[in-house]
Subunit: 212 residues, 4 copies
DNA sequence: TATGAATGAGTTTTCATTCAT
DNA sequence: TATGAATGAAAACTCATTCAT
């Protein structure tokens, strides 16, 4: 039933799971869940198909682990943002958005986000985890900050949760653009520039104000 | 099988393709491209599996057609928006955003957008079509409008394309939220309210201005 | 994703399931459940692998169906036997055993029985069905017949259920022998002769009786 | 890992193979050949997967060894039975059957027999070994004893080999029942009672004899 | 000797696609 | 045109077997 033949394997370690997940993240981001072949993940990780099953029970499990793992550092960042709550609102906002731009630029959140969006119907738990652990945390932190600023009379009246979404939206669109349209040759979006301009606009409005 | 009293006014030939695409849109939106079974599409369309192949050569072709078809009306709307270029900028902006909210609320663009995002890597042509025919048109129209308003001294300085993205972003986020998080029980986003508040903020800024 | 190439299939019918089950019975009997490859079943049935799944959801389902199907005719026979309950016990016994020999000789019960025995632990439901629908029916019928004969003073005292097992045992051993040892070249067992001799012995005892 | 107080008197080397075979017997009896995972055998034996291969070349080899090993003691018993050939036939028969009941009740022959029956087609050598070393020995011994008794005028005319099968059959059926139907909740068979009643019936016949 | 991580052939199952009717 | 039975390539997953340690 088995084989004979040539030399097979070499090493053995505890980094395997992480290596596999890194490979999986890339493949999932490229092909989506259903389109990803575990064999490709294995190849990318420099491992055999079977080795994956040494660490993860199913393809779904791998997918979940990828999403899960990509959350950890971001959650910390979000918490840090939430803790930053001091000083005048514009400063706070600049700080928060700056943090988010950093995240978005230096981690593969974009790819994972795309996966979550694309597979939300097939894997509701993923959408749930992503929402509960990341999105809702961020939104809540922002919402509170906005509400506080409103209370202080710094920020105009309005639904603070919607304000939170408004704040985050361009960043997300930037990320999605990068994942969706840049690869097909559409002009890239400079997320940092977008964020900067967004901040200014957000704070002061789009319209010029004639000198009183 | 006829002997039942129900009227047999099944539409014929001409509507078939449209019916199939409608069914396909629903199934693709639910399961994604790979997850969608043509058999389900057929069942949903009240048609045999084979019949699909009478009109479309492959599953990909069906997918393409779905995206393509969902574009047509929107493109018109975009063009209409583009044509609306008159009057003071705020009025224009309200008009445009209003149109987009209507579109987003009354058509399944949300579902299709999600598909395009999720499968962009697997079907770059889709992303391209979607971008070229819809996104870039809308962005361009907005960019031009912004630029014109800047020329007129109505709008502050800044990259008009980024302004365009800023304008659209919250709407898109709303749509994505609706497709991704609402189904898992997250609090819904009231897109109309979001748009309204977004407009106000955009025009006047987030910050309260002390009376001079 | 699919193929091109040469002509594929021919006919189409309602006999398919039966054909598949016949093939499956043979393959299962030869290789056991786990050892049987559905591909072989398909080949034997002159059908493609996929075709099996048109009629049965899983390999287990096929297995179940095989056992199930092999039961039907036998159950009738058992019921017929049970209905035969008349006349002096020796006549009844000859009748019953004759019937069973016929069954055993002209149907593949042997092969199926072997499968049930071999896979009882893996598929308890099979053992249960086999027991409830076939074995216990037969045993019960025999038990009742024996008990009646005891009441009539025809048969000696003793546990009638055990008598029933004694009656059936040599037949079953014959069948099992045929499935297990005959194929490896062991001398065959002439089940009819065994049955005949068994009947005589059973009725009169093994021992010669000196003339009073 | 030592620092706990439990005595560490693990047996060493010599017992390993036997321990592995004992574990294997259990697993094979539970799952059949194909269904048994060597990993489970290893776990059950308190040994690593690799260790099995230190003693046995393949899974088949392990299977063979299990069957082989389970034969040894039984063969002795059979030989002993064969040697017992003295005195009047009924005494002999009681002795022989008594021995067999003991065997059957106190060893796992039942489980092994089931395996042999179930895998006979896949592993003909097993069926052959089982037949040649055990079954045919027992049958032959019985056959000779019967023939001798016939010669002495103790036993009625008839094929002595078939008589031998008749003698053994109920015991085997009892064992098979225990392995097949008892686990699914069918009423158990009291093998000792079955044997006792079988002996009586065999010797004297099922039918009551009117007083001369 | 003993371990257990790693391998990869082999099997089930799915589903886009074909084609006889 | 329309049907749906049939096909078969593709991919997840299992587990006997190997071998570096």
């Amino acid at each position: 039933m088995p084989a004979d033949g040539a030399p097979k394997f070499r090493r053995r370690k505890a980094e395997r799971p992480a290596e596999i997940l890194a490979a999986a993240m890339a493949v999932f981001a490229e092909r989506g869940f259903a389109g990803a072949r575990l064999e490709d993940v294995a190849a990318r990780a420099g491992v055999s198909k079977g080795a994956i099953y040494l660490y993860f029970a199913t393809k779904e499990e791998v997918f979940r682990a990828v999403v899960d793992q990509s959350l950890a550092p971001d959650i910390e960042a979000v918490k840090a943002m939430a803790a930053a709550h001091q000083g005048p609102f514009p400063d706070l906002l600049r700080l928060l958005v700056g943090r988010m731009v950093g995240l978005v630029a230096h981690t593969p959140v974009g790819g994972v986000a795309k996966m979550v969006i694309g597979e939300a119907r097939n894997f509701p738990e993923l959408a749930r985890v992503w929402h509960d652990r990341l999105v809702s945390q961020a939104v809540e932190a922002l919402t509170l900050a906005v509400a506080a600023a409103q209370a202080r009379g710094e920020v105009r009246a309005g639904d603070p949760r919607l304000f939170a979404l408004q704040i985050v939206a361009p960043l997300l669109i930037g990320v999605i653009w990068r994942e969706t349209f840049t690869p097909i040759g559409a002009p890239d979006v400079d997320i940092e520039a977008l964020a900067a301009q967004h901040l200014d606009t957000l704070l002061d409005g789009l319209m010029l104000r004639k000198a009183a």
